[in-house]
């Protein structure tokens, strides 16, 4: 009982510190002034990747790692479903 309370106390402390840290960092997400990356994609995407579909230019050109990992996530999901439902008829 005492041990579990101690553990919960530590978790609450760590969560509170994380939230305070996130709130203390001064980044304005969604600020219309910080659109450098988006403007770069719009202007240079066609010349960098050669695709006129800008969505494809980002998810297969600039962020192909993300797509690869997404595919691996689906692979693990399929493996998990086949593993959990094996041997039943």
């Amino acid at each position: 009982m005492f041990k579990e309370m101690k553990k919960a106390f530590f978790i609450i402390i760590i969560l509170a510190m994380t939230i305070l840290f996130i709130l203390s960092v001064d980044i304005e997400y969604g600020n219309p002034k910080n659109l450098d990356v988006a403007n770069y994609y719009i202007e240079q995407g066609l010349y960098d990747t050669g695709a006129i579909n800008l969505v494809a230019a980002i998810y297969l050109g600039y962020r192909a790692y993300d797509t690869l990992m997404e595919t691996i996530v689906l692979f693990v999901a399929v493996a998990g479903v086949v593993f959990c439902l094996r041997g039943k008829r």
Partner: protein, 141 residues
């Protein structure tokens, strides 16, 4: 359980068009809305429609579970192999080592078409493998 004749006929006639639409979405992923994931899900839906309208045994004779399992692994291995091919040819991982071509043509975009095809095959096989596993768990459709 057996579906009615109308449903079986319509599903059978509709099947090639759904497959064609899926291949269109995959191959034109870098030119128009669509891509590997969406086209793969459409291809998987075609197999699921065939299994729901006809019986699961008939569908498993055409699209064997073993082959679909193999295709899924083949798709993800092709993706990783294409990524490492970029390193061997002097670019970064998953870097584009093919010529870009004229924008708007099917051969433009370099590596994108091959990546889309690999993702599409993998997603189509994965969706139908999940469906087969669920049907086998339940014992019937």
């Amino acid at each position: 359980m057996r579906s009615s004749k109308i449903i079986r006929t319509i599903a059978q006639k509709l099947f090639p068009f759904i497959v064609l639409f899926g291949f269109y979405l995959i191959s034109h992923g870098h030119l128009s809305p669509g891509g590997g994931f969406q086209g793969g899900v459409v291809l998987g839906t075609a197999i699921i429609l065939l299994a729901l309208s006809h019986s699961i045994e008939q569908t498993e004779k055409k699209f064997k579970s073993r082959w679909l399992n193999m295709l899924e692994k083949l798709g993800i291995l092709t993706l990783i192999f294409l990524g490492f091919l970029g390193i061997f040819l002097g670019y970064s991982f998953l870097g584009n080592f093919l010529p870009l071509g004229n924008p708007g043509q099917i051969a433009s975009g370099g590596l994108m078409l091959l990546l889309n095809i690999a993702i599409g095959i993998k997603v189509a096989a994965g969706v139908s493998v999940i469906f087969y596993a669920l049907v086998r768990y339940r014992g019937e459709i």
